[in-house]
Symmetry: C2
Subunit: 387 residues, 2 copies
């Protein structure tokens, strides 16, 4: 299991006190640009580490405590309360913690919100929306793509005026941020009477959002909310009574709401870590603070890309993601070389998704401004040597 080379992050390591690489006298952390699982706030990891064998003086790890214990029930309630407070979730919405990630919700949403034969509307701006349609089709619904940015190679978002919901459809689904293409909506689509369903996996908690505009928000946790293994589902309570009889119990929104997300044993460590991340967000100034931090990071990198003749980003200016920024050098071979050399310099996981290639910098909440600046410094040096 040992990787052969221990040199990953060596550039950062030599920044340590003595410059002697073999003496691991301080913790070496890289800037991790992974699209998910992704970088977490170092403070959160340190706090978790400190109490990993004895949580809240219970003499147990949080991974070991019963989900029905008063300590853990309080922890889960506190995590939900913090999420409600930070996101401003209205009282008529339930917050659910469900196993299976965002992909699980691709199935759970049609199971909970449709009958066979219902029409469901989709707006497509990239690969994850397409995957969501493929999963929905399994459940006998009529998938209607009401807007599709295929023509631009999924580098644009549709105008509000071109999104025409189907009267009587069960809901309209869209992907506010497409992680692979780095394409993000600058607005929340108007859908009239239709419940709006959003896969917010890669942008939840990155800035304030008006939850009251949505019927269902779901998000895998592995980008802005901790490790992989859970989805957070925020569902308006008038949508709770529509589940098909054959919806698996642990994905049934109503049953999960009635059981405080404990129809089955919940992923306790994920709920605990989400709580820690929410506390960290409050320390950073809440979602206003995160928005400022994230807007600044994204603008810094886009400004550099726009001024460059060497690097390019294919996304339309009004559809650029704050979270995932793809970019290219002038040549495929140089892209590969870039990723290898960046990794050696402690800037990891910059390879683009295997379906598209190139590079992609995912700069979620936990990525500091210093990480973006280190990336830009590396990009300048790489250009100087290879242009």
């Amino acid at each position: 299991m040992r990787i052969e080379s221990c040199d990953t992050g060596s550039r950062l390591r030599t920044n340590s006190v003595s410059g002697v690489k073999s003496a691991r006298i301080e913790l070496m952390r890289v800037f991790n640009f992974s699209a998910g699982p992704a970088m977490m706030p170092q403070e959160v990891l340190e706090r978790t580490q400190a109490e990993l064998l004895d949580w809240q003086h219970t003499g147990m790890s949080v991974t070991e405590v019963s989900h029905r214990s008063k300590e853990f029930v309080a922890c889960a309630a506190r995590t939900e309360e913090l999420l409600r407070q930070i996101m401003g979730i209205p009282e008529n919405y339930k917050v659910l913690f469900i196993q299976g990630g965002g992909f699980g919700q691709f199935a759970a949403v049609p199971l909970n919100l449709t009958k066979p034969g219902d029409v469901v509307d989709f707006v497509l701006t990239g690969q994850w929306g397409i995957k969501a349609t493929q999963e929905a089709k399994k459940f006998g619904v009529e998938v209607k793509v009401v807007a599709d940015e295929k023509g631009s190679g999924y580098t644009t978002v549709p105008a509000q005026s071109s999104i025409l919901p189907t009267p009587g459809a069960a809901y309209l689904h869209y992907t506010p941020n497409e992680t692979i293409g780095g394409v993000e909506f600058g607005f929340i689509p108007e859908t009239g009477e239709l419940p709006l369903v959003a896969d917010l996996s890669s942008t939840i908690l990155s800035r304030p959002i008006d939850v009251s505009r949505f019927g269902v928000i779901y998000a895998g946790t592995q980008k802005n909310m901790g490790p992989a293994g859970m989805a957070v589902v925020i569902v308006r309570d008038d949508l709770l009574d529509r589940a098909r009889p054959d919806t698996p119990s642990i994905w049934n929104y109503q049953k999960m709401a009635q059981a405080d997300s404990m129809v089955n044993t919940p992923p306790t460590f994920s709920i605990y870590l989400l709580g820690k991340i929410l506390e960290w967000i409050i320390e950073q100034g809440g979602l206003e603070g995160m928005a400022l931090r994230n807007r600044t990071k994204a603008q810094t990198l886009y400004s550099f890309l726009d001024a460059s003749d060497f690097y390019s980003n294919p996304v339309a200016s009004d559809a650029r993601s704050w979270m995932n920024i793809p970019f290219l050098t002038p040549a495929p071979d140089l892209n590969k070389q870039f990723v290898v050399e960046a990794t050696a310099a402690g800037l990891t996981n910059l390879a683009g998704h295997r379906s598209v290639g190139g590079m992609r910098a995912s700069i979620y909440n936990a990525m500091p401004q210093a990480g973006v600046e280190a990336l830009i410094e590396f990009m300048k040096e790489f250009e100087r040597v290879n242009a």
Copy 2:
């Protein structure tokens, strides 16, 4: 979120060097008898803690690394390989890591192995088997209970001769160990041509088992395999092609087998920790070593119960679980008092399941013999004071 009292485990604390409770000069760990999430080996938690911010010199936490990184792909492959080696899993079986725990598999098994209208056989020895039938019924199968120990109050297991599989049924499902009642099979049922499906959640890895006797083994991880949030599924490869078209992709055995359990982002931390636990099992002498350890623990506690006029265990002698041992004092009020006082003495989570009351000692792999002995000492003292 802070619990009001920090006295949990105080008896153990006063065993520390100076006996001064306020000075937390050494780590205080309790004996945790929780049925799941459950006690983990302390060595595993310590190793995890040590590398939580920098795993394998990547400069990243294992919770932060991409599931597609070469380090994590190697970690997942190594975890599977260790499980195969330790359990002796034949080559014609796939090993899958799936989100949703054992309860998710209550739905996933019928979705993967049946068509609507198929007969499925169940043997019932307790509450979890009953829950599995309730979930299976959602999917239009004919549930046939071929043996039901209701008559004994679920304190017995049926004889092999009374288990008569239905010709042509899709499979026969049983629960080798019922966690709530503490009822365990001493044999693997013969089912002829029918695939045998087992919910091994609370007994997997506790002793050697002949995997070749099974069609599907599934087990939630939160007892002998780490934190809650994942199921391990071991499926014979001739059963992979039967999934219904509307099986959610992340629960489709064939798709998951083809994708090395990465149809979606897997619960990376759970897979990593399972690997660490498997390494620990090897250090303990593998499943033979675990069996010796577990048999000894169970015999120690049952011998004490059998010799006692104060405590009792309701389970038939040939159906007693090695993992979950329920017991009672002569009076309900004394049971409650027992749980409270045991907790204060650092023996935690001894309350029986909320559906049955009384006490239950869950003594999974990670519980040392010393924990069982500490429990018995406490029981003796409690009896002396209260009998």
